[in-house]
């Protein structure tokens, strides 16, 4: 929810959330399995840790500041290029929310680099080339995925769309109609409603991390707005390219210089998101949205720390034990396994570097068990704050993190994406390794201290979507309940 950003950002959050990684694993295909097969009890099996050194991508900076990460991988005849751009909807003017997203959509759909929109679509479809461009809340992203035989042509088209999009008026008009339709459909699904309202309750409806476009703000967008947004925010010195797959370094760099080399530098926008005021943070809130549903869709939580916070690792492990690790977590065991009250239940810690993070618990449960589920949320939260986690819980969380660390480096594109996102966020390239070292050192006392400090029952925002009166009654056990009336247009 909070991440309006590109997918790669989510990837790290995911990894960081599971705290998944530590000792580089070793394993070699030719080693016969050392465990005693006759013992057969998986609970007592032990394995060697595995040494694994992921390949190191090369980092090259073109004269105009464009940063390129390269990692060759010739297993399959495919090449993937990603672009990460320092732009985003935090730059949207207040009366034109949706401008950044619309610019990204029409960069892709509206032609460019001297080709009409129809030519671009026809050519890419014909040789099965995939191009995506999108601008999220805190970054822009683009990707090209082609068979290596089509790399040169694919790259020309890709660069043309990024550098000189045509923003064809008919395609803009269509994109606006589509955006308005999706606004009209925002209230269709209870899950979408509860996520968006929760975000607004945390950050405020006008905050760059939570605000939403409206039919009016979309209608106001002109082609000139898109042209200007592109011109002002997308520059070679604000862009990070990642190239993986079946290419050779020198040829690829020559191709990149050909299509991007004469692109002039510009003033890259500063990524700065305002913090929510202490007064708003400290307020606890209970809101419901009336919709005819069979379940109550629940989000309970509050704003949290950034990834650079010294308590980050301790809090991430606390969240992992509380509700972040699916089957293994307390909330899953309590609410789902033992009580059978929800299919999907757990907690999440979403963190980034540019705005405050979010910590939340979530579940969907039938109306009659709504109050019980919220009570279990609060009780489990209080338990995290009141007593240390068990030795077994901490050991399991650490083992899970360390033993799955290798999955952070599972493919060349994962390795390159990670480095790019770290650079984008201004973090050191061994950030994950640093986290891993901290995880290994972590004590129960650290986890307890982080839970006490950062899980705050007095600051809970409870947002629920469900059916009317019965829901109000269930929620009123936790404080004053107010209704959020949805506007029909979303």
């Amino acid at each position: 929810m909070k991440r309006g950003r590109a997918d790669w950002m989510n990837m790290r959050s995911e990894v960081a959330r599971l705290l998944g990684v530590v000792v580089l694993l070793l394993v070699s295909g030719s080693v016969a399995y050392s465990a005693d097969l006759e013992a057969e009890d998986p609970r007592t099996m032990t394995f060697e840790p595995v040494e694994f050194s992921p390949p190191e991508p090369e980092r090259v900076v073109l004269d105009n500041g464009l940063v390129v990460y390269l990692l060759e991988d010739h297993e399959l005849p495919l090449v993937t290029i990603t672009a990460t751009m320092r732009t985003g909807s935090w730059l949207d003017p207040a009366d034109k929310v949706g401008l950044a997203a619309m610019t990204g959509a029409v960069m892709r759909a509206g032609g460019g680099g001297g080709l009409s929109a129809e030519q671009v679509d026809a050519e890419l479809d014909q040789f099965a080339g995939d191009v995506h461009i999108g601008i999220g809340r805190q970054s822009g992203s683009a990707s090209l995925d082609v068979l290596s035989k089509d790399l040169d042509r694919g790259l020309e088209i890709f660069a043309g769309l990024i550098r000189s999009p045509a923003f064809e008026p008919a395609r803009l008009e269509l994109a606006k109609l589509q955006a308005i339709e999706s606004i009209r459909r925002r209230q269709d699904s209870p899950g979408s409603i509860v996520s968006r309202e929760f975000s607004k309750a945390l950050y405020g409806a006008d905050h760059p991390t939570a605000r939403e476009s409206s039919v009016d703000s979309i209608k106001r967008l002109t082609r000139q707005d898109l042209v200007a947004f592109h011109r002002h925010t997308i520059h070679p010195n604000g862009m990070l390219l990642g190239v993986t797959g079946d290419f050779t370094r020198d040829e690829l760099l020559a191709s990149l210089r050909k299509v991007f080399g004469d692109w002039q530098t510009g003033t890259v926008p500063e990524l700065k998101i305002p913090d929510v005021s202490e007064a708003d943070l400290s307020q606890s809130v209970i809101r419901f949205i009336n919709k005819d549903t069979s379940q109550t869709h629940l989000r309970v939580g509050h704003l949290s720390i950034k990834e650079s916070d010294p308590d980050y690792v301790a809090l991430a492990i606390a969240n992992d034990i509380l509700g972040g690790s699916s089957f293994r977590s307390r909330l899953f065991n309590d609410v789902r396994t033992k009580r059978g009250l929800a299919y999907s239940v757990g907690s999440r810690l979403y963190t980034g570097m540019h705005d405050q993070g979010v910590w939340m618990m979530r579940a969907e449960t039938k109306m009659t068990s709504t109050q019980e589920v919220i009570e279990r949320f609060v009780a489990n939260m209080e338990r995290m704050r009141g007593e240390p986690v068990t030795d077994a819980e901490l050991a399991e969380a650490k083992e899970a993190y360390v033993n799955s660390f290798v999955f952070s480096f599972a493919s060349p594109s994962a390795i390159v994406s990670r480095l790019i996102e770290l650079e984008y966020d201004g973090l050191p390239k061994d950030f994950l390794q640093q986290l891993r070292a901290q995880v290994i050192q972590l004590t129960k006392e650290d986890v307890l201290a982080a839970a006490k400090k950062h899980l705050r029952p007095d600051r809970l925002k409870i947002i629920a979507v469900g059916s009317g009166d019965a829901l109000t009654k269930a929620l009123s056990a936790f404080g004053d309940v107010k209704e959020i009336k949805l506007s029909p247009e979303g």
Binding site: Y33, E40, F52
Partner: protein, 541 residues
């Protein structure tokens, strides 16, 4: 649109998972056109030729093992697929395949318990009391107000006994121990899914932990224990509410599919009808397992940093001990020919949508390959016909997609087209425009350029399908289980390459008829008088 979006249209349809992240893709839906490995283009043959990389092994008990070595990273992805799903269910027990899949995470005689010998008699008694309680409550509900005091007292005492037994049983449970073991050893992506055709279990982990996996999974294939049964039934009811009752698309597809199939079990929602879920018993579920989960019904696909010889030894030593099971009862019901259009509507507090479906044959019939071509021509990519016409030119639809194998591929199925109108346009306008495109397929031959595009994309998708360990494992096991041979991936590509423009015209003419179609419309609640569910006038079949 991209393959990904195209796939997500299909994702609304049928599959259920035990884990938190659920992909609802109908197996074999995102498959035929989207995923394939083989390429006719000889320049790619050496790197992407699947035929050379797959190692196949069959155990004496019938278990099939497929392996692909990839040594870049010390990890492995494994997919265990059983040829069992909603297709094997009977009315009154719908949802049992999916409930069993949930129960398969509850452990074995060794995992998930502190003492199975002591636990077992309690579980048996709990099942007996629970079954009687369910039965009496159903009878009570059927009798309505006529229930006597005596019956009320009996039910009350059964409830107390039931609660007491549940508490006793809980004393022995080691909650989610199987998942915990995997996670401690670095396992990621632990999940399972149930579809109409198949039930699948997946996991990825560091590849030196294969003995752990083999011990857990061979034990689960042989000795599952259905503990915490009644709690899990409640979880599944919540899943049903989440996916079908509170989801406009979930409910639309459930209603559509059950209208299209009146006899065949493809018409039953995989998650089951609510009343059936609440009537499932431990004994039924155990019997379902015994009937359908033999090793001869399973395919295990392993892709990653493995040594096939060692893997075979390991699997022989563990899974090899499981006896083969007798063949399950054969599927007898054949959907009768549809003799007239069927139209249904679903009222929901949501914006409108439409699904249109035509009965068709499945894998093995040459017409099925033609439908794969039609599917791609109509909805694959920004230049596909439906997107171009409905979204771009007429601007009457916000989205449109198609699927050539709804809701499965083990039995004759449906070709479906789905769309959401762009306000103020209606589902009726969208429906008419879709029929125009289907008529055009009958009237004029598709161009050679379109056919070439279909094949280029198919070949590229074949190569892309090799990229991830888990994706490849999934595809291999899928085709082995659905088509009886993973090489179907390769042969279907060649058959698709041979499809001609005349084939497309013939098939469109034969199947896209009014009497062979089912139409379901999602209508805004309280807005039911909109023209949505009326037949479209002026448009022939």
């Amino acid at each position: 649109m991209s393959d990904r979006e195209w796939c997500s249209v299909k994702r609304r349809v049928g599959q259920k998972t035990a884990g938190e992240a659920i992909s609802r893709a109908v197996l074999a839906v995102c498959t035929l056109v989207m995923v394939t490995f083989h390429s006719i283009n000889p320049s790619y043959a050496s790197s992407s030729s699947l035929a050379e990389r797959v190692i196949e092994h069959r155990l004496a008990n019938g278990l099939t093992v497929l392996m692909v070595e990839r040594h870049q990273t010390p990890i492995v992805s494994i997919n265990i697929t059983f040829a069992v799903g909603g297709i094997n269910e009977q009315v009154g027990q719908t949802g049992i395949a999916h409930l069993y899949e949930h129960m398969a995470f509850k452990g074995t005689r060794m995992i998930g318990t502190t003492n199975y010998e002591e636990e077992k008699p309690i579980l048996d008694e709990l099942a007996r009391v629970g079954t009687e309680l369910d039965q009496r409550q159903r009878d009570g509900d059927a009798n309505g107000a006529k229930a006597t005091d005596e019956e009320g007292t009996t039910i009350e005492s059964l409830r107390k006994r039931f609660a007491d037994l549940q508490a006793q049983a809980a004393e022995y449970v080691v909650g989610n121990e199987m998942a915990l073991l995997y996670q401690r050893h670095g396992g990621v992506g632990l999940n399972a899914s149930t579809g109409k055709d198949l039930t699948r279990y997946m996991i990825s982990f560091p590849s030196n932990r294969l003995p752990l996996w083999a011990a857990i999974e061979s034990d689960r294939m042989a000795h599952p224990v259905l503990r915490e049964f009644y709690k899990e039934r409640g979880v599944v009811m919540e899943e049903r509410r989440l996916r079908n009752d509170d989801s406009p698309n979930g409910l639309l597809f459930e209603t559509f599919t059950s209208a299209a199939f009146r006899a065949h079990s493809y018409g039953i929602p995989t998650i089951g009808w609510g009343s059936d879920i609440l009537s499932l018993t431990p004994a039924d579920t155990e019997a379902f397992f015994k009937t359908h989960y033999g090793p001869n019904r399973a395919t295990i696909a392993l892709v990653g940093d493995i040594n096939p010889r060692d893997v075979i030894t390991l699997i022989e030593q563990t899974f090899g001990k499981i006896p083969a099971a007798p063949p399950p009862p054969s599927l007898v019901t054949v959907e009768p020919e549809q003799r007239g259009e069927r139209r249904v509507e679903v009222e929901f507090d949501a914006e409108p949508a439409i699904v249109i479906g035509y009965h068709k044959p499945t894998l093995g019939d040459p017409d099925d390959d033609v439908f794969d071509v039609i599917d791609a021509v109509l909805s694959e990519g920004l230049t596909s016909r439906l997107h171009q016409k409905l979204v771009r030119e007429k601007r009457i639809a916000a989205s449109v997609g198609s699927d050539a194998s709804h809701p499965g591929a083990r039995a004759p199925n449906l070709f479906i087209v789905t769309a959401t109108p762009l306000a103020p346009h209606t589902t009726a306008e969208v429906e008419a425009a879709i029929y125009e495109e289907l008529e055009r397929l009958k009237r004029e031959p598709v161009s050679s350029k379109e056919l070439e595009k279909v094949l280029n994309n198919l070949d590229a998708d074949l190569v892309r399908g090799l990229r991830s360990n888990s994706g490849l494992a999934s595809q291999l096991a899928l085709y082995q289980a659905v088509a009886g041979d993973w090489q179907y991936i390769l042969t279907s590509r060649d058959k698709i390459a041979k499809v001609t423009a005349a084939d497309v015209q013939r098939v469109a003419t034969q199947y896209f008829t009014k009497s062979n179609r089912t139409v379901a419309v999602l209508m805004k609640k309280g807005n039911a008088k909109a023209a949505a569910a009326r037949p479209v006038s002026g448009v022939r079949p």
